[in-house]
Symmetry: C2
Subunit: 364 residues, 2 copies
């Protein structure tokens, strides 16, 4: 068993666990910074280690197009190519190719698509996705799924979910690399019966972990929590549960309470590049605003990150407003520290039997 | 005496020295990375310390406009504002305002100009430049001068040089901050008689150091060396000599041979952002080129910088070509390491009486 639950919250569904991978253990619940194109935007691998990022995410679609799989093969995989020797999870590329509206054609075998870069034509299906992720050498491989848009009627959602299950069966049959773990992805839009069926079908196939896909696609936040309430109970308790592409600090706390162990999201890095910096309570401040022009205090007096220990809001505001790269670097570092530290606090709260209180107090 | 010469080259004009400043000593000959807007582009202050940058340069014109002197005053100067506690040299702002062709009007008192950002009107003269640099709190303050374009006829060059001397006299009369050193700037375009007169006049005024301005403005390289040959002999031997805005590795080696102790230039940082990376012999390679697509070796096998120890040309090329910030960071770090390491090699060569050989071998 590569996943071990160390502690369960007596009052909620929260779990404190450890997942073993070929590149080391990760402590759950965990947040995975997003390194779409073989780099977590604005950060170096050593800075991510300093931030105590235990695992990062890479995107199959982007890496397949650039730098391309010939180079990745020659380099010996994504870890060596990007000098990152901790665990990596890669997505299947499905989400990205389905987003290429007007540039893609879906068949039962997969998706024909045109590159968003130069229009070159490619095909991506479950077999291709597995082959690419095998070359990437990620520790956790995601099954190839179709992510339905929101809203989506029941008929379309069912058809898509059944197609996903078929593809995931094919994924399961492909040969993976040494130690690679395959996670299945539950779909079914916002429908209880479809989520239930998808979860049951995937459990029948059998995966090393289970992701909940198709959320954070525009639905109201309450709907996201409802889908988690329906879905997680059908997932094996002794396997990791991963909520894809989510979310805000509050959404993460709420999903942990519902039994989710893993998260990834571009929020901390993307918001940083636009100048939004997280505060302890999970809200953000717009660091470029005129009111911080002469503010010589750090972003967050209570934060111990490099940015907050060394630099003022006035300095960071100046850097962002004149377009100095260091500005984006400093806010990115602060925001990632915030998310990684939030997960540490969540893990400690679960370990110390006070997660329900942590959840109740969060954001106040 | 704040400047001490430790060793002179027996065969050339090169000197190995130490300059004391309120924020620590710097070892000469030295290269100063350029931090125009309170940040050396793409670098953090800690990375500059890791690179062993002993002093950086700040630009009065840019800092005067943004973030502005009210904030700088409140922050307690440029060191505190930018979290850099090693020495800083600031230019006078003269070079930048004279470059604002069509946006500036020169009088005997100084320069009326319109901000390149929003057109707001300002005035900068010798008194204003000294007041700003006093607020910035730089360790080395540059006198306010006029830099003539190239080519420039003798009459215009003479008039400009005399105006500069007048302004530098005013600068000398201004009250500076505790420990701040004022450097005069020799002008006189490419004319021997004018350079001689300018140097003599400045020595009469008396400064803590002497800069050679008005070079690297488009003249042939041989002309630059000729002007150095004429000018340096008129500068006090026991004061630091600073060649402003220069240059390429070869130009630096040649200027050191002519008695220059200090250099600043945007070449390593600017070229890095365009993907040009320095090799041991002082040439550059275009890291974005297709020929490096599958090249898994470092930029320079002989380089010990962070970039070369950890990353391949193929990875850096990928990052630069997809526009990841880390790409610019890694090449900037490598190029600055190259320049700082070049100066260390020059200092060692002088100390060990083998600079003439180092110069003869350089670039081969």
């Amino acid at each position: 068993m590569s996943f071990k639950i160390l502690k369960k919250c007596p009052a909620t569904g929260a779990r404190r666990g450890v997942l073993k991978t070929p590149h080391g253990e990760i402590n759950t619940p965990i947040f995975m910074p997003v390194g779409t194109r073989a780099s977590v935007k604005a950060m170096s691998p050593d800075e991510l280690v300093d931030l105590n990022a235990e695992i990062i995410l890479g995107n199959t679609y982007h890496l397949f197009l650039r730098p391309g799989m010939d180079i990745m093969e020659k380099a010996g995989g994504l870890h060596k190519f990007s000098s990152w020797d901790r665990p990596i999870l890669t997505d299947s590329g499905g989400f990205q190719v389905f987003s290429l509206k007007g540039l893609r054609k879906i068949t039962k075998e997969g998706v024909h698509f045109a590159s968003h870069i130069d229009g070159s034509r490619f095909f991506l299906g479950p077999k291709e996705s597995m082959a690419i992720q095998r070359t990437l050498g990620s520790d956790i491989v995601m099954a190839f799924d179709e992510c339905t848009p929101y809203p989506c009627d029941h008929k379309q959602a069912e058809k898509s979910m059944l197609q996903t299950t078929e593809w995931e069966t094919i994924c399961r049959d492909q040969k993976l690399g040494e130690g690679q773990q395959l996670f299945g992805i539950v779909q079914g839009s916002m429908y209880k019966d479809l989520r239930e069926q998808s979860a049951k079908d995937l459990v029948n196939i059998g995966f090393e972990g289970y992701a909940i896909g198709g959320l954070s696609v525009g639905e109201p936040e309450g709907k996201m929590f409802e889908v988690l309430d329906w879905t997680v109970p059908y997932l094996p308790e002794d396997k990791p549960h991963y909520l894809m592409g989510v979310g805000t600090p509050k959404q993460i706390v709420e999903a942990v309470a519902r039994g989710v162990d893993m998260f990834d999201c571009v929020i901390p890095t993307r918001l940083a590049r636009h100048g939004s910096a997280f505060l302890t309570n999970g809200t953000t401040i717009p660091i470029k605003a005129a009111r911080y022009r002469e503010d010589l205090s750090p972003i967050d007096e209570n934060c111990d990150c490099y940015t907050c220990r060394k630099f003022s809001k006035a300095y960071i505001r100046h850097l962002m407003n004149v377009g100095e790269i260091l500005g984006m670097r400093l806010v990115t570092m602060h925001n990632l520290y915030y998310f990684i530290n939030l997960m540490r606090q969540i893990r400690e709260a679960i370990a110390e039997d006070r997660f329900a209180q942590f959840r109740a107090d969060f954001g106040k």
